[in-house]
């Protein structure tokens, strides 16, 4: 047995920020992913600077049934027209985007926290805990997702907080499954045995040793899930179970004005429909690009 210690240079792991920058730099290799990232970035910037870029108050009733390009009574132009109550559609899309992005992000991150903790525990401790967590995950995942959302929201009522709760409830089992699978794989590696021998506690091992090494499938899944959550929030708004009016949300805008599509005012519902599709497309392309890039190394 060799006793001499090798003087391997200590490699400091990069910080999260450096890693994030590297990931974005890697996206150069995938034009599709880059395009998706630009779409998402565009909506994020719109959301952040909503007060500056939105031309009108999103809830002010100004001039009903105006087509895109109509001049507003007191200066300015309704670039996207107005809805049946005379509210500027462009402003509502911008503010609605802010709301959708905010709730989608908070809900998805919350679902990730719950899903990661359950997945790590199930995959690392195994045994009865794993059986129980996996069984309940199977139960929740066996619901058609929209049926589950309708049941939950109808029970607890429609509000921003309840939507976050419903998303966490419905999507953390899926996240848990991914984390559990990766954890079971990583838990057999030598460096995990090393840290167990070192006497590290189980949660230290899970969070510091395992989780960072499980990140690449999770980042791809996160982008996909942001897209799903955006769709879900819109669908709930469309079904009348979403964020409370009058503040704009894309699904609600579509459902309020879709009767006018066949009545000669298609822009009212079509523009928010395009907005939600474009944002989801951005997330999907980004996820696709990230997957492609992560498969390359």
């Amino acid at each position: 047995m060799a006793t001499s210690t090798t003087d391997a240079p200590l490699v400091r792991p990069d910080s999260t920020i450096v890693n994030a920058v590297k990931a974005v730099a890697l996206l150069r290799e995938s034009p599709v992913g880059l395009f998706g990232a630009l779409i998402v970035l565009f909506f994020v910037l719109l959301a952040i600077f909503a007060p500056l870029v939105s031309p009108f108050d999103p809830n002010a009733t100004i001039l009903p049934f105006a087509f895109p390009g109509t001049a507003a009574p007191d200066g300015g132009v309704f670039l996207f027209g107005t809805d049946h109550l005379g509210r500027d559609i462009l402003s509502r899309i911008i503010w609605g985007g802010q709301r959708v992005l905010f709730y989608a992000t908070v809900a998805t991150i919350s679902a990730y926290i719950v899903g990661i903790i359950m997945g790590l525990a199930a995959g690392y401790f195994r045994g009865y805990l794993d059986e129980i967590i996996s069984f309940f995950a199977n139960v929740i995942l066996s619901f058609p997702i929209m049926v589950l959302y309708v049941l939950i929201i109808a029970k607890v009522g429609a509000s921003g907080l309840n939507i976050i709760f419903a998303v966490v409830f419905a999507s953390s089992p899926g996240i848990m499954r991914i984390v559990r699978g990766v954890t079971m794989d990583i838990a057999t590696r030598d460096y995990i045995a090393a840290s167990q021998t070192r006497g590290e506690g189980p949660w230290y091992i899970m969070l510091v040793e395992i989780l960072p090494n499980a990140r690449s499938p999770l980042i791809v899944d996160f982008c996909l899930r942001m897209g799903y959550t955006t769709i879900t929030i819109g669908a709930l708004g469309f079904l009348g179970l979403g964020l409370p009016p009058p503040d704009p949300d894309w699904g609600g805008m579509i459902t309020e004005t879709r009767a006018f599509v066949t009545g000669g005012f298609p822009h009212m519902a079509i523009l928010p429909a395009c907005a939600v599709s474009l944002l989801v497309l951005g997330f999907n392309l980004l996820a696709d690009g990230l997957r492609e890039v992560s498969l390359k190394d």
């Binding site: 139960v139 049941l151 669908a235 469309f238 066949t262 298609p266 429909a273």
Partner: protein, 310 residues
């Protein structure tokens, strides 16, 4: 194999019972709420108490759960509060309507997805592959409620070819079915197409395909006889799982087109707290989902000889 089937079916029953328990706790956990929704907002407290005792809701929840399971198994789904009729009279018609919509969509979607997936995976990285991939990722990004509006604009308002609502009130009408099926297919086919593409691309790299090529077999023959059979095993499970997604989409699509199906019934019942209808719809949805999932698992095991003969 028989052991595996028994285990899967046992798991299926266990999941169904748990789901039923969840639905039951959610809807009938608090007897006063049931009494309130049955008797209406103006009922006095004494009336509520009397109703609870009269209908046996004062007993322990687990007793009521077991009794409820027994009633459902014997086909008694209770009475609808909104319609004042047995749930059985409303529910099965609605489920049948959804069955038609989902069935037609399923067939169309599987054909579209498999065709495009095979065409894309045949020549990985070709222009044909790129175009199909971009198309399917784009349609997958357009949620049902958005494509319902967009397609209504094109086919109902601009072209005037199709009706804007599909209530099916004047009997079965194929024309009314076109838009909902289109909406569901566009959103749903992408995932299966991607899986098929990946599976096909993988099969095409196998040495036996190269052998067949070098033997000089016609390309069409290689694809149809040699590649497809192996390439379609993996998508099979995904296709069965797709039924779960389809039921999800059905809720939104039925609402969008005023289609009188079970998704619309569930939504109406949930909004108006019609508890027995909610329970029936919820149980049915999960039953279909779990059942198809089990079939998918078993079918995959059967189709894949490497697992079958273990």
């Amino acid at each position: 194999m028989p052991q595996l089937i028994m285990r899967r079916i046992g798991m299926m029953i266990l999941i169904m019972l748990t789901v039923a328990l969840l639905l039951f706790l959610m809807n009938e956990g608090d007897p006063r709420l049931i009494a309130r929704s049955v008797l209406g907002p103006y009922a006095q407290d004494q009336q509520l108490d009397a109703w609870i005792v009269q209908h046996g809701y004062d007993r322990h929840i687990l007793v009521r759960y077991v009794e409820w399971i027994g009633r459902v198994m014997s086909g008694d789904l209770g009475d609808s509060i909104i319609y004042k009729r047995p749930v059985n009279e409303i529910f099965w018609d609605r489920l049948g309507n959804t069955g038609i919509l989902a069935g037609v969509t399923f067939v169309v979607m599987v054909i579209v997805a498999l065709t495009l997936g095979v065409l894309a995976g045949m020549k990985e990285g070709s222009t044909q592959d790129r175009v199909i991939s971009v198309f399917s990722i784009t349609t997958t990004s357009i949620p049902e409620y958005a494509s319902a509006v967009l397609l209504a604009w094109i086919f109902v308002f601009t072209l005037g070819w199709l009706p804007g609502t599909s209530s099916m009130t004047s009997g079965f009408n194929v024309v009314e079915l076109i838009l909902p099926v289109m909406v569901l297919t566009l959103y749903g086919f992408g995932y299966v197409a991607r899986m098929t593409r990946a599976s096909m691309a993988e099969v095409m790299t196998n040495p036996y395909i190269r052998t067949a090529m070098l033997k000089g077999l016609p390309y069409r023959h290689i694809i149809m006889k040699h590649a497809l059979r192996n390439a379609l095993i993996a998508p099979f499970t995904v296709i069965m799982l797709q039924i779960n997604w389809l039921l999800s989409g059905v809720v939104v699509t039925e609402f969008a087109f005023g289609y009188k199906g079970f998704g619309a019934l569930l939504l109406e019942a949930a909004l108006r707290r019609d508890i027995f209808v909610i329970e029936a719809c919820g149980t049915a949805a999960v039953f279909v989902a779990v059942f198809t999932q089990t079939i998918g698992d078993l079918g995959y095991t059967y189709l894949n000889p490497r697992i079958r003969f273990k």
